[in-house]
């Protein structure tokens, strides 16, 4: 088991390193940033000074190792546009993104899984059909369309909620809805189908025969066995959720990492984009690692093998 964990951790680190290296070199092969950072007709000496300030005068491989070592010493490079350390920019904006993400994840689990259980227990009833049709529509409506609809109804027409930016708890309502409908719908669909696979099994009848109450049977014996695929998908959903956060943050002018990365991409601010992708790849890989390792907790057969 220890060996397995060690191998998984090493593989995760290798993945993150590969992403960083790929993105680093891809952003450097497309020409000299100095050309689009200076105005036309800038003097050569001005260009040289800028080049030195940004560390672009070193050979490519030196830049690469310098930035790689910098990641461990806290030197993450300087943004081309803000002329400030990249880590500072991220530190300012990580709060709003993380708080939004945490609430969305909580909504997905607290609303999605119970809805799926309900639909599975009441299989083929009206409740099941209504929940599942809503879930199909919910998972097909793009989050930016949903965000715009919400702004139109609740901010522009009813004037109940602020249309953008952050500050009060009211600011969270619409971004959270726009971001969590898709993942919640997927979680509900998946919990339902995975619980339906389990619900016909003999051991549930056995638990019933023991005289357990029906809801205990479903929750304790059914849901627990249905959770492995659900957790796998929630891990994969995280990636989609982080991607979705970019869009939702843009729609609601949310001062988070997503808006920072979109504007940085439009301005070709490479140090910010490279670092941002690294942070995201690392968090996705890390969560998937936790998901893999959590199988052992949920399934004794995996734990003991």
């Amino acid at each position: 088991m220890k060996r397995y964990i060690l191998m998984r951790v090493l593989k995760a680190l290798l993945t993150i390193w590969a992403v960083y290296t790929l993105v680093f070199f891809l952003t450097r092969v497309t020409g000299d940033p100095i050309e689009w950072l200076t105005i036309a007709g800038a003097s050569d000496s001005a260009k040289e000074t800028l080049r030195e300030n940004l560390g672009l005068d070193l050979p490519l491989w030196q830049q690469y190792f310098k930035s790689l070592i910098g990641l461990f010493t806290g030197d993450t490079g300087i943004s081309y546009y803000y002329a400030r350390p990249v880590s500072e920019l991220f530190a300012e904006r990580i709060g709003p993104t993380l708080s939004l993400g945490a609430i969305v994840m909580a909504v997905t689990v607290v609303v999605g899984i119970p809805l799926g259980v309900l639909a599975a227990v009441r299989h083929n009833t009206l409740l099941d059909r209504v929940t599942m049709s809503t879930a199909v529509i919910g998972s097909t409506v793009p989050n930016f369309v949903l965000g715009i609809l919400l702004i139109f109804v609740f901010a522009l027409k009813l004037r109940l909620l602020p249309s953008g930016n952050t500050g009060t708890p009211m600011h969270y309502i619409m971004p959270v809805i726009a971001m969590s409908v898709g993942p919640t719908a997927s979680a509900a669909r998946l919990t339902r189908s995975s619980l339906l696979d389990v619900i016909g099994q003999d051991y549930l009848d056995c638990a019933r025969a023991k005289g357990m109450r029906e809801w205990m049977v479903v929750l304790k014996h059914g849901l627990r066995n249905a959770l492995i695929p659900v957790i796998t998908i929630l891990g994969a959903q995280l990636s989609a959720m982080i991607g979705g956060s970019v869009v939702v943050e843009t729609v609601f002018a949310w001062p988070g990492i997503g808006t920072l990365l979109v504007t940085s991409a439009q301005q070709r601010d490479f140090p910010v984009v490279v670092f941002g992708v690294l942070v995201i790849a690392a968090s996705v890989t890390f969560v998937n690692l936790l998901v893999d390792l959590s199988y052992g907790l949920l399934d004794p057969r995996i734990r003991n093998s």
């Binding site: 970019v246 991409a265 790849a281």
Partner: protein, 286 residues
């Protein structure tokens, strides 16, 4: 009972799905024929006819959906936007399918080190969310239609690769492949004559399921300003432009949004039906 069976034979496709398919084909055909049906210059604008009301607000209006902030007919632009979105998503899908299938065949047939390298590449791709791959490439290559196609190929291949690989590993030991090999068929011949034919139906299901994702990706990237650039247009660009006029001219953003939702809903429902029909094993898998 017998009557029932006959009826089912006459209607191999449920009416709802048939309707979805026909309406989808109709939308695609009209969108692709846009330059023939309504030839206009997308870059032309007329500020004197800015933000005219649509027919449902003002019955005397000559513009079905009104005009936008540059005085261009919204209905015509909507057809052109749909055309761009469809063209880009279909092209992207073609590349993603080709690359993914090829890598999947290689991984499945070679096994060993090659397989490990390809599965590592899948891990690397999956560790970066699709939208961010779009952001990186828009940043590197600039925001062009070609970039969006490249992004689709790069993000889309992994699911095809995984599918084809697992199918091939199941097929590899099959007797008919062994028989073909023992008669001296070359690897290439086996791939084209036996393997591709046998993995065709799950592949078609996968293509349908992924297509709605590609339409979503194209709209998202153009919405963020990282896809199609003016004067070109796509559904995402129209939503993004219409956003600024929500308070007074809500249909400018809602009409293209509705087309996006409609396309995605059509394709996903057709895809779900195809999956149940062609691949009952996958019925409960997601």
């Amino acid at each position: 009972m017998k009557k029932n069976k006959l009826l089912r034979k006459r209607w191999p496709v449920p009416p709802l799905i048939l309707f979805l398919m026909l309406s989808f084909v109709a939308i695609v055909v009209v969108a692709l024929l846009a330059p023939v049906l309504m030839p206009v210059d997308l870059a032309a604008n007329d500020l004197t006819t800015r933000l005219l009301l649509p027919t449902f607000k003002d019955p005397t209006s000559e513009h079905l959906l009104g005009t936008d902030y540059l005085g261009r007919d919204v209905a015509v632009r909507l057809v052109y936007a749909t055309r761009t979105t469809i063209e880009i998503s279909f092209t992207g899908m073609l590349f993603a399918t080709a690359v993914g299938t090829a890598l999947g065949i290689v991984a499945g047939l070679c096994g060993g080190k090659v397989d490990q390298v390809i599965s590592f590449l899948t891990d690397v791709r999956l560790s970066v969310p699709t939208t961010f791959i779009g952001i990186i490439f828009a940043c590197i290559l600039g925001a062009t239609p070609l970039t969006t196609v490249v992004v689709m190929a790069i993000t889309g291949w992994s699911s095809f690769c995984r599918l084809v690989r697992s199918q091939i590993i199941q097929l590899r030991g099959a007797k008919f492949i062994e028989a073909s090999r023992s008669m001296g068929a070359s690897g290439v011949r086996i791939v084209f004559e036996h393997i591709l034919v046998n993995i065709a139906s799950p592949l078609i299901v996968q293509i349908t399921m992924e297509l709605s994702g590609f339409i979503l990706l194209e709209s998202t990237l153009s919405f963020l300003g990282l896809g199609i650039q003016p004067p070109g247009t796509s559904l995402g660009v129209m939503v993004s432009n219409g956003r600024d006029y929500m308070l007074t001219h809500w249909w400018l953003a809602i009409a293209p949004s509705a087309v996006i939702v409609l396309l995605i809903l059509q394709i996903s429902l057709i895809g779900d039906w195809l999956r149940d029909k062609l691949d009952p094993k996958l019925k409960n898998a997601s």
